[in-house]
């Protein structure tokens, strides 16, 4: 997922970089304290800054200096900084393939021994969040922040209007398409220009048809893994939905960054939307009484007839990740580890995330949900995340940046109907293991 939090940032982010709190020390390895770069954009930015502030207050001897960046600016800047040996002490990221590229370049600390000594820190977090932090059996990042499964959202008013029920299977989805189109409502909203938005559909179709093994084979670098008959079946079903006008007109020119895809759902132009759980807070903020009035429905992606995948499986971001730069000084690394043990996801931060309608990756976080106006939603996300048979990390994050770019490029073409499922598979087989 290229831009989970970025979607929020595009709407309300300040232009970075901006120094936030703490003492002014130089970037990179300079200065005595640790440095920490993270994403701007409220309400997430305030929660991140709050955790740093509380840590600094409790530890006058070892300060953390935060610097904020907008999502896209951050992605470019962090890569350049790491490449130049100027990385901050704490490197914020999405884990997976990008983390692997840092590991291969020897730029981040192996945290396996530390987690061995501090089992309590590890055990309080969702076990599923560690997959994307683990490269070749070693842990290189501390999972943090929130779990973000992909959810099928729907507009209850529009379902009432045409007298239909939310889909319980792929067949239902295909049957709903002509009904909504006949009523002049687009069945699905989609911000197709962002490409990873289209990818979420494939992630679920692959999983529901044949389980997580198909993508796992790609991830493991098996030759011609994309040509698996189940993969071809999923890609064909995808194009069937596109050909049946399942998506809103003009979807390939809509970007998720502008939140226009969400607007289509809450303004009643589209009936359903497959999107990350992070959009809930934005729809609550921007959609008037759409969310507070109980018009937003949500469910896990339904099964596909005859599919082998466990319908409890989900996809998305199992967490966000903090790594420690291997170029940091011993003192900085100590401060960072102390922050992992006492600062990250402390009680206040957990409450802060819950307040934004997000589920922190802490076991038992659901005890904070009672009384929240979003309790139904929070319990739903907590249930999906904690009961998932498999929590597949978003493909573009799991793969290397090189393979991910080819994947996204071909997904865009698949949705334009300019490549066939077979051509798609051939193009992607060429970058397996790269």
């Amino acid at each position: 997922m290229g831009l989970p939090l970025g979607a929020a940032l595009a709407a309300c982010g300040t232009s970075g970089p901006t120094r936030a709190g703490g003492t002014p020390t130089g970037g990179g390895g300079g200065g005595g304290g640790a440095t920490y770069w993270y994403l701007s954009g409220q309400p997430q930015e305030g929660i991140r800054a709050g955790a740093v502030e509380r840590f600094n207050k409790a530890n006058p001897g070892g300060q953390i200096t935060g610097t904020t960046f907008q999502n896209d600016a951050y992605k470019a800047k962090i890569k350049t900084a790491i490449g130049a040996g100027q990385a901050p002490t704490l490197i914020w990221g999405w884990g997976g393939g990008t983390l692997r590229s840092y590991v291969q370049a020897g730029q981040v600390e192996d945290l396996t021994p530390w987690f061995g000594e501090n089992a309590a820190v590890k055990d309080r977090l969702f076990p599923s969040s560690f997959g994307a932090a683990t490269i070749d059996g070693k842990i290189y990042a501390m999972p943090c922040e929130t779990v973000q499964p992909i959810v099928l959202f729907y507009n209850k008013k529009l379902f009432d209007k045409i007298g239909a029920e939310p889909p319980q299977s792929w067949g239902d989805i295909m049957a709903l398409v002509p009904k909504f189109n006949a009523a002049g409502i687009a069945p699905f909203s989609l911000g197709g220009q962002s490409r990873w938005t289209n990818m979420m559909w494939l992630e679920f179709l692959f999983d529901r048809i044949a389980g997580p093994e198909v993508f796992q084979a790609v991830f493991d670098g098996q030759k011609d893994a994309w040509s698996n008959p189940a993969a071809i079946d999923a890609l064909t079903k995808m194009q069937d939905l596109i050909k049946a006008d399942g998506f809103i007109k003009g979807f390939s020119s809509i970007t998720a960054d502008s939140n226009a895809d969400q607007a289509l759902l809450y303004t009643g132009k589209a009936a359903m939307m497959l999107h990350g759980s992070w959009t809930y807070g934005m729809m609550a903020a921007d959609g008037g009484d759409f969310v507070s009035g109980g018009n937003l429905g949500f469910m896990n992606f339904p099964p596909v007839e005859g599919g082998k995948g466990d319908p409890s499986n989900t996809v998305g971001n199992p967490g966000q990740y903090l790594s420690i730069s291997s170029k940091a000084t011993a003192e900085q690394k100590e401060i960072a580890k102390k922050f992992f043990a006492t600062g990250v996801l402390d009680g206040e931060e957990v409450k802060g995330w819950v307040g934004t309608g997000a589920v922190p990756i802490v076991q038992g976080a659901d005890s904070n949900f009672a009384g929240s106006k979003d309790a139904d939603w929070l319990n739903f996300v907590y249930g999906v995340a904690s009961k998932a048979g498999t929590f597949q990390q978003s493909w573009d994050q799991a793969l290397s940046p090189t393979a991910a770019e080819t994947l996204l490029d071909n997904i865009a073409k698949l949705f334009q109907l300019s490549v066939t499922p077979e051509e798609f598979a051939t193009n992607l087989n060429a970058v397996i293991g790269k």
Binding site: A76, K79, T80, I82, G83, S101, Y102, Q104, A105, G106, Q107, G192, Q193, I248, K249, G250, F251, S252, S253, I254, T255, A260, A263, L264, K269, S400, P401, T402, A404, E405, T406, D409, A412, K413, Q416, S418
Partner: protein, 293 residues
């Protein structure tokens, strides 16, 4: 008054410019050339891999496609911009007062950044929330940026909208250099407005056309920001020009070697085109066009 010392002091004056050009022009160029023979993900060590990156890029069907799109953007935007700019520029070269006001108005697009222009047009052309949907005009509610042919047309339109003012300004300057006496002589011979335009204005603007075309053609090789924000190269790869292809390979796919290969190709194509245009212009460009005056 001896020549050598004077020559020496002039050479010194060129030093700042040479230093800047060396640091920001020549050094990066050499760097890119070196990188094109390596494999580097931007993070780890740089490995020399000989011609591997070149072979990979030249065998990739994406390259001819990106070259073709770049060529189309170049050719079509030249065809749209040049006549419009010449007409506007010649018109604005007149001295009536309202023309000064108009030239200020025409100048406005030039003051906006490409990113701002792209974001604005993207919002206006949105099929669901844009101008067409807002005004209820069916004809404006096309899927402007979602259909390959339409998206290409929109890119040409927006590029022209942005750059015609600049080229008009060049032609305005060129047209004002044409001596009045030539027009007076033509009028005595009974030439009308159109005859004067084709027989005096256009030939006299020859070098201005070469200059403006060089800027347009070489500039269109590096179109990036506007297309990146407007369509991100999409839908599919319908508007993926060479510069965008380079960015995607280098900074999104972490393939600095192949991206550098494309950068080198861009430099070579740009140089070739600039030389070709000078040839087409005839002469050395420093000949006077006023000898008949």
């Amino acid at each position: 008054m001896s020549a050598p010392p004077r020559h020496g002091s002039l050479a010194w004056l060129a030093v700042p410019a040479l230093l800047l050009f060396g640091a920001f022009g020549v050094v990066p160029l050499v760097g890119v050339l070196v990188l094109s023979f390596t494999s580097w993900d931007g993070l780890g060590d740089i490995h020399f891999t000989g011609l591997e990156s070149w072979a990979a890029v030249l065998a990739d069907p994406g390259l001819p496609h990106a070259l073709w799109v770049t060529f189309l953007v170049m050719a079509v935007s030249w065809l749209v911009q040049t006549p419009a700019s010449i007409l506007l520029g010649v018109f604005l070269a007149g001295h009536q007062r309202y023309r000064a006001v108009l030239s200020v108005v025409y100048f406005v697009p030039l003051l906006l950044s490409s990113a701002a222009i792209a974001i604005t047009y993207k919002a206006l052309l949105d099929p669901n929330f844009g101008l067409g949907a807002g005004l209820g005009l069916e004809i404006l509610a096309q899927d402007w940026l979602g259909e390959p042919a339409l998206a290409f047309g929109v890119v040409i339109f927006v590029v022209s909208w942005q750059f015609i003012p600049f080229h008009s300004l060049i032609y305005q300057g060129g047209a004002r250099q044409i001596p009045r006496s030539m027009y007076e002589a033509a009028e005595l011979d009974g030439a009308g407005r159109i005859r004067k335009f084709f027989s005096i204005t256009l030939p006299q603007l020859k070098y201005t056309i070469v200059t403006s075309s060089t800027l347009m053609v070489v500039g269109s090789l590096t179109f990036f920001d506007l297309i990146f924000v407007l369509t991100a190269g999409g839908p599919g790869d319908a508007t993926r020009v060479l510069a965008l292809d380079m960015y995607k390979r280098g900074f999104q796919a972490n393939l600095m070697g192949p991206a550098s290969v494309i950068a080198v190709i861009l430099v070579l194509v740009g140089l070739a085109l600039a030389l070709l245009l000078r040839r087409l212009g005839g002469g050395t460009g420093s000949d006077s066009r006023l000898e008949g005056a």
